[in-house]
Symmetry: C2
């Protein structure tokens, strides 16, 4: 591998001159710069990130935490969209992305240690158990971090606006004449709590009565749970006119039970999903769902993290809400 010294020798100048020339320092005359840069290209010089970061304490590398909790992890389109967007935006700013695990070996027994070991300038936490002490340790350290869909005190977070999501859904259903609205929610997480609270609050504002039997608990991204929940809802003596599912995928479970009973969507029962994955658009009838803006979430995460890294003094942590929008498909009937 060609190094600065080789270029220096070839050009008959010193190493530091080469270093300065390549970093476009204006201490170096433009002719010399040109000559050196040409020679560097000719020799196929490639900098050595390790040496550079050893010296500068900066790596231009971001850590990425992506814990596959639900076993759907990366397979969940919401997250893969976010990840892709983080990657794109980071690359645009000259940062690379390295996955950070908490694999146990001498120097990487925690996320924080792992990130430090790799010299990450900051870490994006996309999906993780936010109550894991390891994650908390990381977030509370002096390592710049950004979390997605979870908020810590005094830390920057990028949040998909779950309250607004449920509010919009409920208000739309209200407009469409629905008063008997069931909500199948995901497992108990902060996201779920926000959605649930917003659901109740909006119903209350609209004077919609929500019987306890209309609230069912399922798990995100596992259609089977929603299948059973749907069954229970449809068996009710006074069944709902519309069911809100935890996510678009889970709706597929509900759909099965609805078809089992030869009910037609939306004529016999209306349904609403959440996420707005690709599938929701290609299903027929097209699914009415709240589209989360994964691209923007990922983009903001990168932007804010890099901002924090590059202006450590002046940066003030913030909570950024990313709103989505209601995709009005054809699964809600006008009553």
């Amino acid at each position: 591998m060609i190094k600065l010294k080789d270029i220096a020798t070839a050009c008959g100048v010193s190493v530091s001159t080469v270093s300065k020339a390549l970093s476009d320092s204006d201490e170096i005359s433009s002719e010399k710069k040109k000559e050196i840069i040409e020679k560097a290209n000719e020799l196929g010089y490639i900098a050595n990130a390790s040496a550079r970061s050893l010296k500068t304490k900066r790596s231009q590398n971001l850590g990425l935490i992506f814990v596959d909790n639900t076993n759907s992890g990366l397979g969940h389109e919401y997250f893969s969209v976010i990840l892709n967007s983080i990657k794109q935006e980071a690359e645009n700013s000259g940062y690379d992305l390295t996955f950070i695990s908490n694999k146990i070996d001498f120097s990487k027994k925690s996320y924080l240690n792992h990130a430090k070991y790799r010299g990450c300038d900051g870490v994006v936490i996309v999906s993780a158990d936010f109550h894991d002490p390891n994650i908390i340790e990381l977030v509370e350290s002096d390592m710049p971090t950004v979390t997605i869909d979870y908020e810590y005190n005094n830390r920057t977070s990028i949040i998909s606006d779950n309250r607004k999501g449920l509010e919009e859904i409920v208000r739309y259903l209200y407009e469409m004449g629905h008063r008997k609205i069931a909500f199948i929610h995901g497992e108990d997480t902060d996201v779920t709590r926000q959605r649930l609270a917003s659901f109740y609050k909006t119903c209350e504002e609209l004077k919609i009565v929500v019987p306890n039997e209309y609230i069912k608990s399922a798990e995100y991204h596992i259609p089977e749970y929603s299948f059973y929940a749907t069954k229970e809802l449809l068996d009710l003596p006074n069944p709902p006119t519309c069911i809100i599912y935890p996510d678009d995928y889970s709706y597929m479970g509900g759909l099965e039970e609805i078809e089992n009973r030869d009910l037609k969507i939306p004529d016999d029962i209306s349904v609403v999903g959440y996420d707005g994955i690709y599938l929701s658009r290609i299903l027929r009838p097209m699914l009415t769902t709240y589209v989360q803006d994964g691209i923007n979430l990922g983009k903001m995460a990168s932007i804010k993290l890099i901002e924090m890294i590059e202006n450590p003094k002046s940066y003030i942590s913030e909570r950024i809400m990313v709103t989505g929008y209601l995709q009005k498909g054809n699964t809600v009937k006008k009553l």
Copy 2:
């Protein structure tokens, strides 16, 4: 940050002794080792990967190339499963994963340069334009690489067995009594060519006649193309009894047209997908499809790459076929 020197001072030994003790060298007495390790833990020592790799020329870090060609990229479940599996296996062997782009800046104008810049020990090429000169340069360099679903001369590749996939599908359809089989294939790639060749070959072996009108071209993962292809096939004076789709997602496009015509699957028309994504299992009727073993593909990619890195002399490049299996759903009618 605590460094070796701090531990050395604290223990009253030299830096090199600490270094050796922490790497469990048997030059050091076990008491001293124990003492040093304890002190290191106590002080919260974390090694510095940059310094280490500067010295050792090894980074324990793998590059990952994942080009979002089709704009579905990471959103394509097949790839996200592979990626996740690569990650898992790499972590198990103590390697990290860094995304490698070909963003243009002074020292990273190509994939190869980027990988060298980051000191990657090797690179997994998951999804990319395999005819891109940049990719070819990388593969032909002395950087260890593994490609997925594409084979270069004398390079290790992990291949999902597309020939076997189509052969199994066609033979199954034959058993089920089908003789009029249409095949909607994806855009012209090596994968597509293999599938197509295998389709023709198997039909020939079984003496199934394939009229040209039964072969339609679409694009992977874009249901709309398959929607139109399906329309054309069903409009044929002598339509097929079964349609093979480019992938499970594309089938959704076909499904729409089939439902538009009030045809029932499988009674009026049989269908087969490809990939075996989660969706295929939750659809009703459950989709008959060829399940690609993404987990194994990813796992083998990591294993082989690491093998190559750790035994550069003795390693012989190989082509590893990963077979899947036919998921017999309920979308093919027995004729």
